[in-house]
Amino acid sequence: MGILVIADHHNSDLTPVTANVVAAAKAIGGDIHLLVAGADCQAAAEAGAKLEGVSKVLVADNAVYANQLAENTAALVATLGKNYTHILTGATGNGKNFMPRIAALLDVEQISEIISVESADTFKRPIYAGNAIATVQSEDAIKVITVRGTSFDAVAATGSASIEAIAEVTDAGLSSFVSEELAASDRPELTAAKVVVSGGRGVGSAEKFDIIYKLADKLGGAVGATRAAVDAGYVPNDLQVGQTGKIVAPELYIAAGISGAIQHLAGMKDSKVIVAINKDEEAPIFQVADYGLVADLFDAVPALEQQL
């Protein structure tokens, strides 16, 4: 018995959130195994073996797991998971996709997006777009949990777990991968970046978003946006920060031309330092900002970039 953590990865590497999920597993307590299910994913498995607290890495390396199709991943974990008291993964696009399928196959409920571990069976999680925090206790024999990565400090990469291959292969035969379009960028991944510079509808157009990108590049940060800016077509939708987009908690969050809708605040209010730049001094964003600057973003953002 112990805890199974399902790694979030791109086959050739592990995504940073996995180290946060292992931290949540350590808080629960118990022997921690890490499952890497993918294809040609040896590199991700080796990275996983270094995560502090992991005692064994299980690798299911087969073409059927290449794109983490929910049907195949869930079938694998539903068999494997019976030997554990807890199954954890990150509340990422992949985790949210396959995890409830695993829970249903095991006939247990899922606890989504926990932000703290109170004990081995009790957890806190946000509801109503983060406007309330529920403390829930599970009596299920196997606790299936997704973890909000930004709520747990990543474990160090100083361990050396053993790596074991899993021979079992399950192809549910229900779905197949066609293609993937990933935004190519040298910038850090939004949810793992130390600095995030976000723009809202106030930025006005895709072209004018350029000043946001420039400031982010100066700070070595990622670019984010509000749902309004995404819906207006200024930036691609994977940059959306908010309850229905990405949840971020960087060291520094700069909100430019963002009014501060509840939806958006739910995605960034755990940032360490928040800076708001908005010409409307009544904007709700100022109520959560450590430093507020009432100014036109088209003056302030380039000036900030110059002076940093």
């Binding site: 995504t15 199709l69 929910a70 049907e71 990422t92 696009g93 992949n94 949210k96 996709n97 995890m99 409830p100 399928r101 695993i102 829970a103 249903a104 196959l105 247990v108 409920e109 899922q110 989504s112 997006e113 946000p126 509801i127 109503y128 406007n131 309330a132 925090i133 529920a134 403390t135 829930v136 206790q137 599970s138 549910a172 229900l174 779905s175 197949s176 991968f177 066609v178 379009e181 990933l182 949810t191 700070l219 939708n237 994977d238 309850q243 060291e251 520094l252 360490k272 330092v273 800076v275 109520q287 430093y291 507020g292 600057l293 009432v294 100014a295 000036a303 900030l304 002076q307 940093l308």
Partner: protein, 249 residues
């Protein structure tokens, strides 16, 4: 083919909810209730499938209190042909909802089940995937595009960092993400017509589903408030604070 679309009655997305003083939950007395926004997108997609000639019938189903018939009437005003209300005053877990929907699917035999990716009250994001597992169907979660042809569905999905396209067998359960479509508004004549469309009322017991939950909510609290900081007068002052006070640059 038949399309089943599930809708949930939730607190309206414009309402700022308040936690009850006794920490038992959020206060929903006299609060405006509406169809979950992601469910509206699912209904729109189902109606479009009918308009394209892919679907022959759209059946809306809701699991909730008696008043959830309002949301079913809305779905019918938008174009669903009939409704099924599975009436319960309990707050059901996603697993219980998925079990009931699996039974409804067994009876109705839809080729496609559409639903929202998550409800804005519990924020679970589970039911679609659980239903697909229980029914043994393929799943297309977080759909931003849907094409149905030759007995298969091609689903464009929102993933971290971009988009993924997958081909899935039918029957399938598909969950709507924000950008799948822009839902229409119901027109007054359609709202009138919807009142005459058939609606069945059932209970979870009719489907033989045990709805007991193994997850207890011990308490519900407001989130830690973040207090407002200070206003700075200039970019220079901001840079100084970030460098010397916050020490984040």
């Amino acid at each position: 083919m038949k399309v089943l679309v599930a809708v949930k009655r939730v607190v309206d997305y414009n309402v700022k909810v308040r936690v009850k003083a006794d920490q038992s939950g959020v206060d929903l007395t006299n609060v405006k209730m509406s169809m979950n926004p992601f469910c509206e997108i699912a209904v729109e997609e189902a109606v479009r499938l009918k308009e394209k000639g892919v679907a022959t019938e759209v059946v809306a189903v809701s699991i909730g209190p008696k008043n959830a018939q309002e949301q079913l009437r809305t779905a019918m005003a938008l174009g669903a042909d009939r409704g099924i209300l599975v009436e319960t005053d309990e707050q059901l877990s996603s697993l219980a909802v998925a079990k009931i929907l699996a039974k409804v699917a067994e009876e109705e035999q839809p080729q496609i089940i559409l639903m929202g990716k998550q409800s804005i009250d519990t924020d679970n994001n589970q039911t679609t995937q659980m239903l697909a597992a229980l029914a043994g169907f393929s799943q297309g979660a977080f759909a931003a595009g849907l094409v149905v042809e030759d007995g298969k569905a091609t689903v464009e999905r929102e993933i971290d960092g971009g988009m993924q396209t997958i081909n899935i067998n039918l029957p399938a359960v598909i969950s709507a993400d924000l950008r799948l479509n822009e839902p229409r508004y119901a027109k007054l004549p359609d709202i009138m017509k919807a009142k005459k469309k058939p609606m069945d009322t059932k209970t979870p017991a009719d489907y033989g589903v045990d709805t007991a939950s193994k997850v207890k909510t011990l308490k519900v609290e407001p989130p830690a408030e973040r207090s407002a900081g200070i206003k700075v007068g200039s970019v220079e002052e901001l840079v100084d604070k970030l460098k010397n006070e916050a020490k984040v640059v």
